[in-house]
Amino acid sequence: MKSNITNYNSILYGREQAIQTFAVLADSVTKEYGKKEVLKKVNLKINKGEFYALMGPNGSGKTTLASILASVKSLTSGKIEIFGKKPEDAKKITGYVPQENFSSPLLTGKENLMYFAELLGYKKSEAVEMVEELLKKVGLWEDANKRVSHYSGGMRKRLEVATILFPGLKLLILDEPTTGLDPSARRKFLGLVQELRNKETTILLITHIGADADLASRVGLIDRGVIIAEDQPEKLKRNSGLENVVNIETSIKNNKVASLLSEFSEKMKVLETETGYRVFTEDVERATPKIVRSLDEIGCKVIRIETVKPSLEDVFFKLTERKVSEVD
């Protein structure tokens, strides 16, 4: 029996058109490890040429879904199509960068890419030219002959992204590529990802960082194996019901401060950040002075207070009452 999604596509676009339209089509995908259900009937459609970010906390199932799409893991039930093919038949058009740093630290950047070029069956003469081009594309040509052990985290990640830029790859899956990178390396890396966007290349970015997901044309929020929301980043924020967020840096962080701040947060808990808290309130102008006064009364200094637009982390928190950086 054909799935609903496949039928829907076939009806709307005809079979051929459906294949061309969707780079990724996941229909009721379930993945179980023993009794633990990691993915629960996940449906996902990514258009050809789209930049899609799948955002969720660790353990939410996002890496498992990416691994299944990359044909590294099998699914328990459901159906997946990559440009109309089964994942195992779409390996030639799918490039996957796993979370771990898989490049060899003992080899140079150039040697690492030559290794992958040879694995992909390129002749040495072809590979040399191609590797040079790829190293230039990811901004590593000047460091091509340095050992990877001398690369920074950002350089190493860019080198690994170069392994999925060989010709013919249409779907690029990047699993948590910015984890562990410093802000400057992160910006540079995301700039590279932005450059990869074109009509022919579809990008799936797996992340738990809202600012990274913000760059995508569409974001799916995944929690406990279910995609709980999906839209353009701005629409997700707009439709979340969050108008403004008060971001507060405090001298103290404890339950007492959190409990006090929650009184100002409508129907919600406050979101704890590295330096303080985020409070969700509709009437920012009235709430802000009250917050400062109340904190002062309990001996907590406000180092900085500002009204900011909601982030994707805030949206995730609103929907799940859990931080996206939380581990299941």
Binding site: S74, K91, E100, N101
Partner: protein
């Protein structure tokens, strides 16, 4: 790993050549050193296959390279061939270095063309059997250190029990039987028999059925390792 595959055998060639041959008559010292060099070369080949190979497999698994390769349009056989060729190059280097040190220490061998070629065939069988065992270890022992140390441990124990590192004649009969079945030790004895003489091998490992048994068990280990590796290391969870 370089230490266990190259350093350790060379150290024992040096120790063996100058300590174990102290009271031996001069006419047999050179061939005793030859037998020691062969044993240590075999030990190096064993370590390369049984510890280096699983260590590399575990390392590739741990740092995500295996995941990356699995996502690419590459068959397990291609990955396997790459590993075996790399291991072969490393094993040849290790064997040549150990024998060269043996020569430098005064080891001598009987060289005839046919014996030399036959010895190479037995060296290949040692390589094949060690690689088979290595793939089994690499498939089931997930952590790098665990894989390497399991391989080194198995190499040392099996070499001691099967007559690679101890004279065959001094083994109890049950271990002598094991030495004939274990293809690495029977191949070691065959090489020693061909290049140094029967008195150093302890028995005639080229008697009718023995070379066939050696080849059969070595190939069986290799095929078992290969099937296990391609089925379980490349298994989609």
């Amino acid at each position: 790993m370089l230490f266990w595959t190259i350093g350790w055998p060379i150290i024992w060639v040096l120790i063996g050549s100058f300590s174990f041959t102290g009271n031996a008559p001069p006419e047999i010292v050179a061939y005793t050193r030859g037998a020691i060099s062969i044993s240590m070369m075999v030990f190096g080949l064993m370590t390369a296959g049984m510890a280096n190979l699983p260590g590399n497999i575990a390392q590739d698994r741990e740092r995500g390279l295996l995941t990356k390769i699995m996502s690419m349009p590459i068959s397990p056989w291609r990955d396997f061939t790459g590993r075996i060729l790399a291991l072969l190059a490393f094993s040849v280097l290790s064997a040549m270095l150990v024998i060269a040190v043996g020569f430098a220490c005064g080891a001598r061998f009987f060289f005839t063309g046919i014996d030399f070629m036959a010895s190479l065939a037995f060296i290949l069988l040692i390589f094949v059997a060690s690689a088979g065992i290595g793939m089994l270890i690499g498939t089931f022992v997930k952590h790098v250190h665990g894989a390497i140390m399991s391989g080194v441990g198995l190499t040392v124990v099996s070499a001691a029990l099967s007559g690679v590192m101890t004279p065959y004649a001094y083994l109890p009969s049950v271990l002598q039987d094991f030495a004939r079945i274990y293809p690495i030790s029977s191949a070691n004895s065959a090489i020693t028999y061909l290049l140094v003489g029967e008195e150093y091998a302890g028995y005639n490992p080229l008697s009718t059925s023995q070379p066939f048994l050696t080849a059969l068990v070595a190939l069986l280990l290799f095929v078992l390792g290969l099937i296990t590796y391609s089925r379980f290391c490349w298994k989609k969870e």
